[in-house]
Amino acid sequence: MSTQVSSSTPSETVEDPGLSPVLTNSKLPKLDKAPQRPLGSAKKRYKIGNIIVGLVLTLGSVIMIGPLLWTVSTSLKTQQGVFDLPPQWIPDPFVWENYIRVWTAGPLLSGIKNSLIVACSVTIVGTVFSALAAFAFAKLRVPWRNGFFLLLLSGLMIPFPTLMIPQFIMFSNWGWVDTLLPLIVPGLFGNIMMIFFLRQYLSSVPDSMLEAAKIDGAGYLRTFSTMIVPLIKPAIAAQFILWFMAIWNDYLAPIIYLNSPEKQTLQLVIATFNAQYAIQTDYPLIMTASVIALVPVLAIFLIFQRQIIESIALTGSKG
């Protein structure tokens, strides 16, 4: 049931000539189906159930966003205000200044820049190569196609911690330690999960469409860009967002490779903030940095909610 109207009055009271017939039509068969039961009481019971469930879910929501709100609240307190008893639930006074001094208190800006460089370059280039590979795996005659596909899938079975030490040795031999390259280069070659899902998605595209394109004399790259990409755009977008967020939030790989403060990605910068300013008990500043690290991803999530949620649901059913 759509909840677009949740903020307004119940839809029954809305005078909408276009909508009301639809509503009554959709309601009628349901009323017909349970003729034995006293309708009113079942409906009433369901409504009471909804109220109880609603209350429980509301309480749960407080638990889910309470810590986040507390973080925001702490980020606006004075250093002493954090320790006040009884606790200040609402900062008194509001110290907006924390959001100004945080930028000079550590390499937050370069952290954002580095995270953007890594996440954007990997996802943009990697998505192109993943989609091309998915296209080949799903639709083209490739020698040992299934063998190659299984080989790639086997990569999913190997956890990163098993590879991190030899990868570190390899990259340090190449002189890549303390640069962003170890975080960027492996991702440019594509993402196995993405190849897997796009391939699944592509298998629903009829082969006859491709044969038609071939007969029309279109090259494979042209077929890919003018026919395949538009067809699988929603799947690409969803996978792209998920991947972007995963890289943005990555911590283990950056902590291994990056030492200099100005080379660190955002997640490392806030972790360093955390260690550094805890000694000076400047907790509001730590919280400010954390809020700033959280906001971009939350914004992306709220904007692309629908795509993200749908693709997650798809992951589960296909995985």
Partner: protein, 312 residues
């Protein structure tokens, strides 16, 4: 299809060409080129490191000097290393959060499957911790667990409970991390459960209603079996993820917790490799971890291939 496909018999899907026909040689080249990129990436950044890893695990090495071949000494060492045992135990202990999280998420999914207003808003709220960065979340909870001014104890204080200093106490540090992980993860599992519940055909419930089944019977006989694939998927992915817990431990308890009580296996590997520079020993532990994860994943693939997924 038969009309357009000249080279292969109509029953054969493209790609299964046995005879190498000239007609498709261009297509084969292009296809190979397209899959070459991820395959090369796999060989360079996964397969080669894996091989190197296996060899390193048989050596004593500080990462820079000569590698001394020591056979399976590292593996014997880890069998007798109490810290390794402790780290393994801690990692397993933290997995208690998996069943707790699944039960809560299934209940949430059932609640959100009701015909009521506001469910999309709830869904968004419960999903917010999932997309949040784990580093930021761990920092946030680290201070929320603080004994003096943390949110958790402030709330407990409201109901008259004097909370402990969660992360400094061997008895509470693991439960504290579990609570945080459940809090972060329920939104994801809930969403998968919700999708599964919504795909159950309504006719099943209608038939059960006609037979006089009550809500609990319907849940037990219809909903639970229908969401079993999702439960399985979640258990497996959570075990794989749970075996690799690192970030929250590294941030919330930088020294592995009081008396090593929150050090996980990946945390210990990381410490041995990059703090103590015992690359050989750390790699041996990482191989053991890799084997465990491999087994769990292989089981998942096997069960999945019996259900819906198949490579061809």
């Amino acid at each position: 299809m038969a009309a357009t496909d000249v080279a292969t018999p109509p029953t054969q899907a493209p790609g299964n060409v046995r005879k190498k026909s000239k007609l498709h040689s261009h297509e084969r080249k292009v296809g190979l080129a397209f899959i070459a990129v991820p395959v090369i990436g796999f060989l360079v950044f996964t397969l080669y490191p894996l091989g190197f890893s296996i060899y390193t695990s048989l050596t004593s090495w500080n990462g820079i000097g000569p590698m001394n071949f020591v056979g399976i000494d590292n593996y014997i060492k880890l069998i007798n290393d109490p810290y390794f045992h402790k780290a393994m135990w801690n990692t397993l202990y933290l997995m208690i959060g998996i069943p707790i999280g699944l039960v809560i998420s299934l209940l949430l999914a059932l609640a959100m499957n009701r015909k009521m207003r506001g469910t999309t808003v709830f869904r968004t709220i419960y999903y917010i911790p999932v997309v949040s960065s784990l580093a930021a979340i761990a920092i946030m909870w680290q201070w929320a667990y603080n004994g003096d001014f943390g949110l958790v104890n402030q709330v407990l204080d409201l109901v008259g409970i004097d909370g402990p200093n969660w992360l400094q106490n061997t008895a509470t540090v693991k439960p504290a991390i579990i609570i945080m992980s459940v809090w972060k993860g329920v939104g994801y599992s809930m969403l998968l459960y919700l999708a599964a519940i919504q795909s159950v055909p309504a006719s099943l419930y209608e038939a059960a209603s006609l037979d006089g089944a009550n809500a609990f019977q319907k849940f037990k006989a219809i909903t639970l079996p229908m969401v079993r694939p999702v439960t399985f998927f979640l258990v497996v992915t959570n075990i794989i993820g749970g075996a690799q817990v690192f970030i929250e431990v590294n941030i919330m308890t930088p020294t592995g917790g009081p008396e090593f009580s929150s050090a996980t296996i990946v945390w210990y590997i990381w410490q041995k490799a990059f703090d103590n520079l015992q690359m050989g020993y750390a790699t041996a532990m990482s191989i053991v971890l890799g084997l465990l994860v491999f087994i769990v994943t292989a089981i998942q693939f096997r069960v999945n291939s019996k259900n819906s997924f198949s490579v061809e």
